[in-house]
Amino acid sequence: MVVFITGGSGSGKSEYAEQRAVALKEKEKASELIYIATMEAQDAESKKRIERHRKMREGKGFFTYECYTHLEELPVNKNQVILLDCLSNLTANEMFSSNGRKEQMVSAIEKGLTHLIKNGKNVVIVGNNVFEDGIEYDEMTKTYLERMAKIHQFLATQADEVIEVICGIPVFWKGECHEVY
């Protein structure tokens, strides 16, 4: 089962993703709940954000892997339910950090996602809807948005469910409850 969850900032997408991962562990009788954290604690703001997400996960039984780049090298297995939060961080890390794959980052992340889907089996991945503000950004930001959109679309083709969370409400784009016209 591959669930792709997107939504805007503060939409409740991470919380919903956690609920789905926990429910999936029960349903699939998986032995482990893995959380892939993608944000590097660089300043006070990111530390605060990480702390907020840690508190939210507390007591839900997640084991945390830190993964800023090279997702394809992460050891995963079929007895786990894996939650990856989120693609926008991973994309930024692969594009801008010293260990990132820069120009090859789209194929690198697609390879990493394929690795999770193939070897991890039950995967919940969180994206980020940063495409609806209508702002004409500089070239670098445009490239970032375009690449992230490519990864979103790739994942949507691989996923069993694509869900946009709006005000904490899951809106289905693909999968259960979804109408295709």
Binding site: F131, D133, E179
Partner: protein, 126 residues
């Protein structure tokens, strides 16, 4: 008329092409196509940039768009969602963003179908 909307880079044009009954649809670019090209096109890509162009020339876009829709009633309009961000500082940008939103609402009223595209997936809203 059909409207295909959604965020930037979400695959709206591909959806517009798949909705078009013609095998090789004529696509006019909102940014630069002539009025004649727009009136004859099967699909107008980046329609919001046509509205922007009119505003830049000081032309009232609503009437122009209405006129265009009358002359080309079968057209598929691809329009990017611009409204889900912070209010722009610049007055022109503010007006542009609002005009695109208001005009989209207006033409959606008479459109036979309206689609929203996200991650390459189309959802029919109307």
């Amino acid at each position: 008329m059909i409207i295909v909307t959604g965020g930037a880079y979400q695959g709206k044009l591909a959806v517009a092409k798949s909705l078009c009954k013609k095998e090789n649809p004529v696509i006019a670019e909102g940014k630069e196509a002539s009025l004649e090209e727009l009136e004859q096109a099967d699909i107008i890509a980046q329609f919001h940039l046509y509205i922007r162009r009119l505003l830049e020339k000081g032309i009232e876009p609503e009437k122009q768009v209405e006129e265009l829709c009358k002359k080309n009633p079968q057209v598929i309009l691809e329009i990017t969602q611009l409204g889900c961000g912070v209010v722009p500082m610049d007055a022109f940008d503010r007006n542009y963003r609002e005009q695109v939103g208001r005009i989209s609402c207006k033409i959606a009223e008479s459109a036979e179908a309206v689609y929203m595209v996200n991650c390459g997936i189309a959802k029919r809203l109307k």
